[in-house]
């Protein structure tokens, strides 16, 4: 399989072609190239996956040595194991469906060429990220997807708010990336390599579990993961990133890029196992994030922001899984989440598309009969998101919760937190369904989705339902974590909680047995609602902590304070000039006389010294 390089090459080449055409390519051709290249990559990945499943052999391909400086020899090389194959399948498979969907969604946009160019570039970068055999190449993909996210969030650049959201996304993730870069430097300095497998081996032989260095290194890597995967405390960019076109949110901000942090930790799990404190921090970060985001999702009224907070929350589950060493479950949840969250975003996009860019869920309603395909997609997606039994989300989330339960000591706490999150997930996901698709209609949809939009929805529905039956080829990647002790009570509670959430949502939003309005309009309720609506007021906090001091400092220094020093020198020189200028009378005789006297003085001094 030397032709593995073709997989990222197809979308990359297509992106280059589309960019070089500078928008003059006919849109049919742009769409064909954009979706086709990803489709081609998906076919290649499918072939690769089949071959891999047949022989379970790790494939390594080196294209060229990136640079050689002393013992620093990162290569442009790929490392394909089960984890990589899973990730590649998700990226190209879900990616292709989203590209197909995009053709219809973006058809009327004048910049469709640019759109597909960025999307293809993203797919290429994401593939490089997961295929990379060393951390530096991974970092290339990591930054590449960040750039594409920036470009796509700010795709409709005429609205300054979109630009602001895009910059926020880039800069906030860049903070994490910088920590990660420092982590790479630490790893290289200490272990002498950045190639992932030798690195893990070296770490295992040089470091003891619980040493300071692995803790520091993993903490720095975690910084990168937290930034990219929108976890606390760097999660603030993701809700704003919804400013981009909806398929972008589906691909980048739900299915693939935001899970890169999960991938990174799973890929370097050997390091994290050496650093139990960091790993515990991963679990707590995941738990806190999943709860925080779930509460925030309850109060949102922008359909995409609800989904964004739910994404943050679901990635919190994945972090929780990684934190309790249930790496395979974390990746499993990553995969099922990619299915149902992409489905939800695409369905939401269809709603937005058909209602002429309406985002507010309270101005939707009654769409159940008007957009049946979308309704069923949304229902299935929400069921999977809420982890109702026998959907894909159920299997993956259940596995995470059970693994959390079994952790000695903190396990039950993590489990209980995760359970509360599951309850909240049930409430907010069905709140969304009930408000958007039931009740009175406020708008008639302008149009119905065509086949290019419907087909991806249907396929993703199937995956969201049946994805739980997939067996991921991760056995060779992660250490075997023993069989679960079947604790039936725990299992029943885990199964029942989402149903309880569904019931609460029904009572509150559809059956109206309990009036949600009185709850919200009570003084405490409205304050809480505003607090959650503002995402726990973390944005204003960061604004006051970082953004405003920085801009104030920059503004204060704007006129170059150091010039004051040099201007001071200039002032002194000018002052001396004005004083000395008095001696310049212009009278020749005065000059001659002063010269004579100066000469006499000089001779006198010399004579005195000689004497």
């Amino acid at each position: 399989m030397a032709s593995i390089w073709l997989i990222p090459f197809f979308p990359l080449a297509s992106a280059v072609l589309l960019l070089l055409s500078t928008g003059r390519m006919p849109r049919q051709f742009a769409a064909l190239l954009g979706a086709g290249s990803v489709g081609l990559a998906a076919v290649c990945v499918a072939l690769l996956a089949r071959a891999f499943l047949a022989d379970q052999e790790v494939r390594e391909v080196t294209l060229w040595t990136w640079m050689t400086v002393g013992n620093f020899t990162p290569r442009i090389a790929f490392y394909i194991d089960g984890l990589t194959v899973v990730m590649m399948s998700v990226i190209t498979g879900v990616g292709f469906l989203i590209h197909l969907y995009s053709i219809e969604f973006m058809w009327e946009d004048e910049s469709i060429c640019r759109y597909f160019a960025y999307m293809n570039l993203f797919v290429a970068a994401m593939l490089l990220l997961v295929m990379a055999d060393n951390l530096l190449l991974l970092y290339l993909g990591w930054e590449g997807v960040g750039l594409c996210s920036y470009l796509l969030v700010g795709f409709w650049y005429r609205d300054p708010n979109n630009g602001k959201a895009a910059r926020k996304a880039f800069v906030v993730t860049r903070i994490g990336d910088t920590a990660m870069a420092l982590g790479l430097m630490l790893l290289f300095t200490e272990l002498g390599t950045l190639d992932i497998q030798p690195l893990l081996a070296a770490a295992n032989s040089q470091w003891q579990t619980g040493d300071t260095l692995p803790i520091l290194a993993t903490a720095l890597l975690l910084g990168g993961a937290v930034g990219k995967s929108a976890q606390l405390p760097l999660h603030t960019w993701l809700p704003d990133a919804m400013a981009g076109p909806t398929p972008v949110s589906a691909l980048i901000h739900a299915a693939t890029m935001v899970t890169a942090g999960v991938y990174l930790i799973a890929r370097t799990f050997g390091l994290f196992l050496l650093a139990p404190p960091t790993q515990e921090a991963v679990a707590w970060i995941g738990l806190l994030t999943l709860l925080l985001a779930a509460f925030a999702a309850l109060a949102q009224h922008d359909i995409k922001r609800i989904l964004a907070y739910s994404t943050i929350s679901q990635i919190g589950y994945m972090f929780l899984a990684l934190g309790v060493s249930a790496f395979a479950s974390g990746i499993f949840h990553l995969v099922t989440h990619a299915f149902f969250k992409a489905l939800l975003f695409l369905a939401a996009g269809t709603v937005i598309h058909c209602l002429h860019h309406e985002h507010n869920i309270f101005r939707m309603g009654g769409l159940r009969t008007r957009l049946p395909v979308v309704f069923w997609s949304f229902l299935i997606g929400s069921a999977a998101l809420a982890a109702l039994p026998f959907t894909s989300g159920f299997y993956s989330k259940d596995a995470i919760l059970l693994s959390a339960w079994e952790v000695p000591g903190i396990g039950p706490w993590l489990w209980a937190g995760g359970l509360l999150g599951a309850l909240l997930t049930g409430i907010y996901s069905f709140r969304l369904v009930f408000i958007v698709f039931f009740g009175e209609a406020h708008h008639e949809p302008e149009r119905q989705p065509g086949w290019k939009m419907a087909l991806p929805l249907v396929l993703l529905c199937a995956l969201a339902l049946a994805g739980g039956l997939l067996v991921l080829p991760l056995a060779g990647v992660f250490p075997h974590t023993g069989h679960h002790q079947p604790n039936h009570l725990v299992e029943y509670i885990s199964i029942g909680t989402p149903l309880l959430g569904l019931l609460i949502a029904y009572l509150l939003f559809l059956g109206r047995q309990v009036s949600i309005d009185t709850l919200v309009e009570s003084p405490g309720g409205s304050a809480l609602r505003d607090f959650w609506l503002g995402g726990w007021r973390i944005d204003p906090l960061y604004d006051a902590l970082w953004v405003r001091p920085y801009t104030a400092l920059a503004h204060w220094w704007r006129k170059e304070p150091l010039d004051g020093v040099y201007n001071g020198v200039v002032t002194v020189v000018q002052w001396a000039h004005h004083k000395l200028i008095a001696t310049q009378t212009g009278e020749l005789r005065w000059y001659a006389t002063t010269m004579v006297f100066g000469l006499v003085l000089l001779v006198a001094i010399m004579l005195r010294n000689a004497a």
Binding site: M67, Y157, R167, R174
Partner: protein
């Protein structure tokens, strides 16, 4: 001899360009273009494959034998790299001013070529006196470029540039004379030749002060914090070609001077001084980035970003291990290309819109998508996106620095974040947002796209396969590392550095 001929071609080409104005107003451009192309071809054609001793090429003619001054030129990998960069950016400079200069185009191009000649001389001279001569030769035509063809505040900017460079150059001249005099005291004969002055056993105090003379001259040129204040003014006021040359190559002469003279001539003093130099580098990285963020003038923003990027060069040079040194050289090349491109872009914008104020731009992407794409490319290059040359440079510098000074590295890495902040702000202000319906402007034409495309290709090449550049520079940098007695690394000197940094901030 070919090295002397190279400089001669440029000097004579300048003369021809000047005179050709009389024949036809457009002729100087073509003469200048032809001159640079010929000299580039000449340089590559006469490139030797084999090293002669330490050098790729070496020549020596007597000049003032009485004072031990010779016309001595030599080329090694680093000088070759920088020469190629110089001539390529010379082409870019000519292309960028093709339709901009109407006033005395002959003299303009003459000054352009003479600046190039001076820079080539600086990169080649290994006689210290000759080096100083070329140092001045490159200064004067540059001064004229700013003073005659600059923008609204040109006299001030040109004077500031001249005084800073000249005053620091004076310190260097003093240091050169002191060094030569010391050389006479030790070797018994007066010589300004690099090879004769290398490895002198100087009195530590004297060595330290002499080193400081060189260091100041080079860091003013680099420019390093806190000697950078001439740069924003000079860059902003210079004509486009002037900014391109200034940012692309003149700044590199400072870095080259540190690499070629300051460190090898005074290894011990430099070693002791390294923490201070690195602290200045870190301060420059952050200070430049913060100020770049605050600017509303497009060119001023890019100018401050240069201060920030050259801080990495200073860091790389004084971290003094293979990774960091390679990173510093790489940064010289990559920054030369990316900043030259940004200045060319700024010049093109000013030419079209008659303003550099980003507050009066906005939405340009709509009117000029090609310019927007170029701006995007070079902005992300300058914020250090992997896959482009600047990333390779910065990561190598930081990797090397981490081994000696983890704390400095952590602070300097903040520069990666701040770079993103100012680069994206620039894109937002100029190219995104609501386009002004009243405004119409032409997009980049074929000539400009050709220059831009070449620079994009160069950065991609540097970012994805930098090995040729690294290989060229390696022998030189390995020579530098042998100057340090084993075990006596910069880390050993780290104690004072934290204090200096603390005081600096």
């Amino acid at each position: 001899m070919s090295m002397a001929l190279l400089i001669l071609i440029l000097l004579v080409g300048g003369l021809l360009a000047w005179r050709s104005e009389k024949a036809q107003a457009n002729l100087p451009r073509w003469v200048a273009l032809a001159t640079v192309v010929i000299s580039l071809a000449f340089l590559l054609a006469t490139l030797p494959q084999e090293h002669t001793g330490n050098w790729l090429q070496h020549m020596k003619l007597d000049w003032m034998p009485r004072f031990g001054i010779a016309f001595e030129l030599a080329m090694d990998g680093v000088s070759l790299l920088l020469l190629v960069l110089t001539l390529l950016l010379g082409l870019v400079a000519i292309a960028s001013s093709w339709s901009e200069i109407d006033f005395k185009p002959g003299l303009f191009h003459a000054n352009l070529l003479w600046t190039l000649a001076g820079v080539c001389g600086v990169f080649l001279a290994v006689d210290l006196f000759l080096f100083f001569l070329f140092w001045e030769v490159m200064l004067i035509p540059m001064y004229l470029l700013i003073a005659i063809w600059g923008h609204e505040n040109k006299t001030y900017a040109a004077m500031k540039f001249f005084i800073f460079t000249q005053a620091s150059g004076l310190l260097m001249l003093l240091a050169i004379v002191v060094l030569a005099w010391q050389g006479m005291a030790i070797n018994g004969q007066l010589s300004f030749s690099y090879s004769d002055l290398l490895g002198l056993e100087l009195d530590p105090r004297l060595g330290w002060w002499t080193m400081l003379g060189f260091f100041l001259a080079f860091t003013v040129k680099l420019p390093a914090f806190p000697f950078h204040t001439w740069l924003p003014d000079a860059h902003t006021q210079a004509p486009t070609a002037g900014s391109v040359l200034l940012a692309g190559i003149l700044l590199k002469t400072g870095a080259y001077g540190l690499l070629r003279f300051c460190i090898p001539l005074f290894p011990q003093a430099s070693m002791e001084f390294a923490p201070v130099a690195m602290a200045l580098g870190v301060a420059g990285v952050l200070y430049g980035a913060v100020l770049a963020f605050a600017q509303s003038d497009f060119k001023r923003l890019v100018a401050y970003s240069s201060v920030s990027h050259m801080g990495f060069v200073l860091l790389g040079l004084y971290a003094w291990n293979q990774l960091a040194l390679q990173g510093a050289v790489m940064q010289m090349v990559a920054h030369g290309v990316s900043t030259a491109a940004l200045f060319m872009l700024a010049g093109a914008l000013q030419h079209r819109l008659h303003t550099r104020d980003m507050g009066r731009m906005g939405g340009l992407w709509h009117q000029a998508p090609r310019m927007g794409a170029c701006a995007m490319f070079f902005a992300v290059a300058s914020l250090g996106l992997p896959g482009l040359g600047n990333f390779v440079a910065e990561i190598l510098v930081l990797l090397g620095l981490f081994a000696v000074q983890p704390a400095f590295t952590a602070v300097a890495a903040l520069g990666l974040i701040t770079a993103a902040v100012y680069s994206l702000r620039m894109l937002q202000q100029a190219f995104q947002g609501v386009p002004d319906k009243q405004r119409s402007m032409p997009d980049f034409d074929a000539r400009e796209m050709l220059a831009m495309g070449a620079m994009m290709a160069a950065l991609l090449w540097l970012g994805l396969y930098p090995q040729p550049v690294l290989d060229l520079a390696r022998p030189v940098l390995e020579g530098l590392q042998t100057l340090v007695p084993p075990g006596d690394t910069v880390a050993a000197q780290a104690g004072g550095a934290a204090i200096v940094l603390g005081a600096g901030l």
